[in-house]
Homo-oligomer: 335 residues x 2
């Protein structure tokens, strides 16, 4: 009897914040491995902000998911059966599996995960795409120097929480912006951010930032865009570097939002804003993973996972993540 694969397909293109009904749970048989293929069972699924963009029928850096197709996404899986010499049963792999419980693959684009280094779920977080995004997006795009002030938005998320800690390791003063008092407490009291504030209770972002960044802002790592970013731009220093990693405040808008024009601030401050994708740094992933594994071991880099159990809860976890319900990396544990 063939294994049954549960999958979530994109049933309709979300308008605004996605609803659970935008996704459809279907069952299909798992294909037996052909020559050079393996079958793996998903252990952890990752849900990430970028997935919202893939649900729109609009040009972006990657093609849109077509209606009826399985939703894309990274996952960690265990090889159950293999006809591929690179992978054997029991191996843990990470790759772009999508929202499904099984994958039959020739292994292209998959990497093996070493369970002896850290829990395998970290291959989707601190030792995976979010970790590398934080590492290269901060260090390569912004080149922060000791003593500089670094502001991070989305600071309690999978990427932001690592950005702030890496900036601290580099000797920077770090100020985080997040959306709950619990998150602020975590950033300041556990992760060592110098300061942080809750944008849902603070009214005047510019005044608060000016208070927390008395010497201005040298580096801004932006995960959110919108009014928070408008405020940060007001306070950037000469030759500031701004890394545009995400604009999550804009992803669920029906139509583009207008905002104050920001380019004049770049001119006045001779500052730079740069968008990036982690894939730009693909040939240096090993460097990033190795360094972060060392920092974890030394206790200098901490991470948290928000885990929801049950494959059927994937859309709910995704929607919650878009609303900031997670602290650290949002994962689904497939039982």
């Amino acid at each position: 009897m063939p294994r049954v694969n549960r999958q979530f397909t994109l049933a309709s293109r979300p308008v605004g914040l996605p609803k659970e009904s935008d996704f459809k749970l279907i069952e299909t048989p798992v294909a037996d491995p052909g020559e050079n293929e393996f079958v793996a069972k998903t252990l952890y699924l990752s849900v990430d902000p970028y997935m919202r963009g893939r649900m729109n029928d609009a040009e972006s850096y990657a093609p849109a998911v077509q209606l009826g197709d399985v939703m894309v996404g990274g996952a960690v899986a265990e090889v159950m059966e293999s006809r591929n010499s690179r992978f054997k049963a029991g191996d843990i792999v990470e790759g772009f599996i999508g929202w499904q419980e099984y994958i039959t693959s020739d292994g292209a684009g998959y990497r093996k995960v070493d369970p002896s280094i850290a829990p395998v779920s970290t291959a989707l977080g601190v030792l995976g795409m979010p970790g590398l995004t934080a590492y290269f997006g901060l260090l390569d795009i912004c080149n922060p120097k000791a003593g500089e002030t670094v502001v991070v938005s989305g600071a309690a998320g999978a990427v932001g929480s690592l950005v702030g800690q890496i900036a601290r390791i580099k000797g920077c003063r770090v100020v985080g912006i997040a959306g709950s008092d619990d998150k602020i407490d975590w950033l300041v009291n556990e992760l060592g951010f110098n300061a942080a504030f809750n944008y849902k209770t603070v009214k005047d972002y510019v005044a608060k930032l000016a208070e927390l960044c008395p010497t201005g802002i040298d580096v801004y790592f932006d995960n959110v865009g919108g009014p928070i970013t408008d405020a940060v731009f007001r306070l950037i220093n000469t030759r500031a570097r701004i890394s545009i990693c995400g604009q999550i405040s804009q992803y669920n808008l029906d139509k583009p939002e207008m905002g104050p024009r920001l380019l004049s601030m770049l001119l006045i401050r001779q500052a730079r804003a740069e968008g990036f994708l982690v894939f730009q740094f693909a040939d240096r992933y090993e460097e990033g993973i190795r360094q972060m594994a060392v920092w974890i071991k030394e206790g200098r880099l901490k991470y948290r996972e928000s885990i929801i159990e049950g494959f059927e809860n994937t859309p709910r976890a995704f929607i919650g993540m878009l609303q900031g319900e997670n602290t650290g990396k949002q994962l689904i544990k497939v039982l």
Copy 2:
């Protein structure tokens, strides 16, 4: 009898587009040169977009001009009398003289201009600040490569007209945006731009840019900001480089204008926008001047000057320049 110096002071802070009455013509005696000083008579005055920013009582990269102070600005002058061993009577100097007919100075910040290389007025244009702005702002900030498409706004101005030609010299496809059919004709038929359009008669900038840039936009040199820049952002290619040199469309606004948020485009395209000031490249001015002098001599770099005669016409020339009345460098010839 002492020489009489005519000066324009800032009489009131302009609201919107400056008026001639925002400036006051006064007469003062020219100070005799003290030890180590010279007296020079202004030959050409430069009026430039950045001056509008100095008239506001707002923080910028340089201090505001105070009410009652002589307006700042670059000029070329002839030394009349000198007690400084570096300068002798008859020497031509360029420096931050301001809107006045005479200067008494110890020479700090002044450079000597060699009249044998090119007409001395070029020290305020192609072989001066605007030329260096074009040279470093394009080559260093944007690093254009042969075959890439470069778009320049404010393309018929002192800086833009040079940017386009330098990009052509580097083997790029160059598209200019300017504000009159005569300017478009000049850009395409005299300066060798591949294409150009008049933003005052074209309605749909995005459609026109898409037509003129069939492979997208790799480099954008922005002098104007506003809706033209919004349109360019829509068409940038992956890893595009955007040089923010000026935002002249915004300088006369009473209050900041709202616009579509542009940072998402930087993210989607992994693109970079960077503001700069020519002063960043001060230690390499000689390289830029030397290279552009060679290009002028070879007939590869052309320039045009819009000259208004008479010191008393300085405010009018400045106001006209802000409205795009000039083609190439706007100068005032002091009689």
